[in-house]
Amino acid sequence: MDLNYSVEEQAFRAEVQEFLSQKLPKEMSDAIRVGRELGKEGHEKWHAILNEQGWLAPNWPKEFGGCEWNAVQRHIFEEECCRAHAPRIVPFGLAMLAPVLQKFGSKEQQDHYLPRILSGEDWWCQGYSEPGAGSDLASLKTRAVREGDHYVVNGQKTWTTLGQHANWIFCLVRTDPDAKQQSGISFLLIDMDTPGIEVRPIILLDGTHEVNEVWFTDVKVPVENLVGEENKGWTYAKYLLTHERTNIAGVGFSRAGLDAVKRMAGSQMHRGKPLSENPHFAARVARAEIDLMAMSTTNLRIISRAASGQAPGVESSMLKVKGTEIRQEINDLARRAAGAYAMPFVSEALEGGNEPAMGPEGSAATAPQYFNNRKLSIFGGSNEIQKNIIAKVKLGGGA
């Protein structure tokens, strides 16, 4: 038992800190700190900065231009990025599709798509969820029918995050309608410029355009855009979902969020004293912090096991549940800290326009983030699904 980082790990952390202090643009970290959105250009700019440093793909093997960092290094990198208020990297190409292509894609697909992901030439989005399918992925209905050297795709995907910026989408489609459930599904790469694709915005309850519906009407997709074998898509999808689960605990986000809450509570007066000294508010903050300290160690325990080659099992589900509970609690604390100034909804201020926000720094984003982050316990396998998984492993019972 040793809670300290090794000398090498400490050196790595220092290197990351140095990079961030040099290369992370101040206007970008300022925006992230107060909860402003970056927009497409902001994301692309940070993507390019990381690519120049060679740090864009922490989990890729070196042969594909990645860092090949181990789990502890990745954790340190994520932790420092959060602490420095660096933007989040859009994960769909880098963290989700790429591992699938690297393991199951053809040489041609690897050579073509992977460099374009690093260069930022392609912006990928994910076509998994469908209306009515929710957490029950296996029931998907989008059809792909082979006609000569093309598939013809018809159907609808939903909850497609940042699909409005994407030029490519990776999709799960049903290629064998007679197969049971998870069989008969294939994994297709589709150019968003193909005729018959329509992207319709879904406005979320905080007013943001973050997710979309994607409609496919007789969309022709060349057969060479199939990944791996036909009807084996479910295998690749599961592999991808495992990769989606890295940093599932969101420790860095929670840590940054809690720091923001403390800053705001220190500046807000309540009954003649800073709110941070109010025992009721302090108790809420302390409980969240204590929970986070423990979860951070749970996360490290799992990471440390992963670094030594053991695969995380049911622990991922536990981290997902606890991690989202803590993040949502911190979002709740932030809106409380903002007081009446949680009420204004000044979308220009949130989108980085000229309109200044009302109230203390960061208060404008508190209520939108509180509502937006209700998604954390719904998307990516709802917390109910995670508890089903835990029960299945530990009790052997069905749902």
Partner: protein
């Protein structure tokens, strides 16, 4: 003991519920986020019809020209507004604005109450300040006497309905230091007065508010509402009434949230069966229904003590707001969770309802602040 509505209130409830249901579309259009073309923050036609229906009058006593005004009148009206997710500013124009004028105004000033009841005039209470948080006595805006004139300087924060208001009721400190209950005066100020400027914006849960800058606003002594320096008691009374209205509104919204969730659980299929057949979700739904009844009782307690002593009022209002704050958060969050993704979309009714529930906590004091008030009042 009797927990039934009187016939009058039952009629009011029925007619208001019917009216709001029949006008759901217009209401929805005015309540959605980012509806920035409407700088009124609500639907003017609906407002006129609410006045016509007598809904505004029901919030005032006969003495004040209305035909209600008791705690259970307020809760009857606001529970329905909550059910409809209406953002129409009855709280601001009628309960706060109208209530303060009725309580403190001269005969001349009180003519405004009649116009409020008629739906012709809008009001807003410009009281909270950037540093006041939820403390009613924290007033830093100053009054300086220059000859016959009074000069007000300061900033008022998140003044709901300010842009639509014909008059603002502005609080300012005449004597004492920032936190004194003594020394706070109220002034009735036309919104277009020189020296008063607004910066308006929409609110997270619908409606609009503004930051109000008072930059040497010059008033005559006739603008005063009530005696100099003696505004606090009336403010406390008005905020008690507003808080009773607010918990009733939240209760109505909680009813709708649980109804929508119940229906969704019965219809939505997953893994080949309605999700309402999953026991884990059933038990969570049962918990919501239990908390809904707790909230209903808390609202009844607060409304039933609104005519009691100041201490009892304060105790029961704080209790109700704390309980409804906790139960409301639970209902809002669980309703969204039990729905899943659909509830995250702005166009689904629950999204707006959940925002009404949660954001209500940010007016007059959140659950912790209410708990502190309850503890203070219990010890007193």
């Amino acid at each position: 003991m009797n927990f039934d509505l009187t016939d009058e209130r039952q009629m009011l409830q029925d007619s208001l519920r019917r009216f709001l249901r029949d006008n759901q579309e217009a209401l929805s259009a005015s309540t959605r986020l980012g509806n920035s073309d409407n700088t009124l923050g609500f639907d003017a036609e609906i407002w006129a019809k609410l006045a016509e229906l007598g809904v505004i009058g029901a919030l005032f006593s006969e003495e004040d020209g209305g035909f209600g005004g008791a705690g259970f009148d307020l809760t009857t009206v606001f529970e329905e507004l909550g059910r409809a997710g209406a953002v129409e500013p009855l709280l601001d124009t009628a309960i706060l604005g109208g209530g303060l004028i009725a309580a403190l105004g001269t005969e001349v000033q009180k003519e405004l109450v009649e116009q409020v009841i008629g739906g012709e005039v809008h009001l807003a209470l410009a009281h909270g300040e950037p540093n006041s948080r939820y403390d009613l006595a924290q007033v830093e805006t100053t009054v300086i006497h220059e000859g016959d004139e009074l000069v007000l300087t300061g900033r008022k924060a998140v003044v709901v309905n300010a842009e639509a208001a014909d008059y603002l009721i502005v609080s300012a400190r005449e004597t004492g230091v920032a936190n004194d209950e003594e020394g706070i005066s109220l002034f009735l100020v036309p919104r277009d007065s020189a020296g008063l400027s607004l910066r308006g914006y929409p609110l997270m849960a619908g409606g609009r508010a503004a930051e109000v800058d008072l930059d040497g606003l010059r008033l005559s002594a006739a603008a005063r509402l009530g005696a100099a320096g003696a505004g606090f008691a009336a403010l406390k009374r008005a905020s008690n009434r507003a808080e009773v209205a607010l918990v009733a509104e939240t209760l109505g919204a909680m009813e709708v949230a649980t109804d929508l969730t119940r229906e969704y659980l019965l219809t939505r299929q997953q893994f080949g069966r309605p999700i309402g057949s999953f026991q884990a979700l059933q038990h969570r739904m049962a918990t919501l229904l239990i908390e809904l009844e707790q909230a209903r009782s808390a609202v009844i307690n607060a409304a039933g003590h609104l005519e009691a002593t100041a201490a009892e009022q304060a105790l029961h209002v704080a209790a109700a707001r704390n309980l409804v704050g906790r139960a409301g958060r639970l209902v809002a969050e669980e309703s969204i969770q039990l729905h899943g993704g659909i509830a995250m979309t702005e166009e689904y009714e629950l999204a707006h309802i959940a925002k009404r529930i949660v954001m209500a906590e940010h007016r007059f004091g959140d659950t912790d602040t209410q708990l502190e008030r309850f503890i203070d009042q219990s010890a007193a």
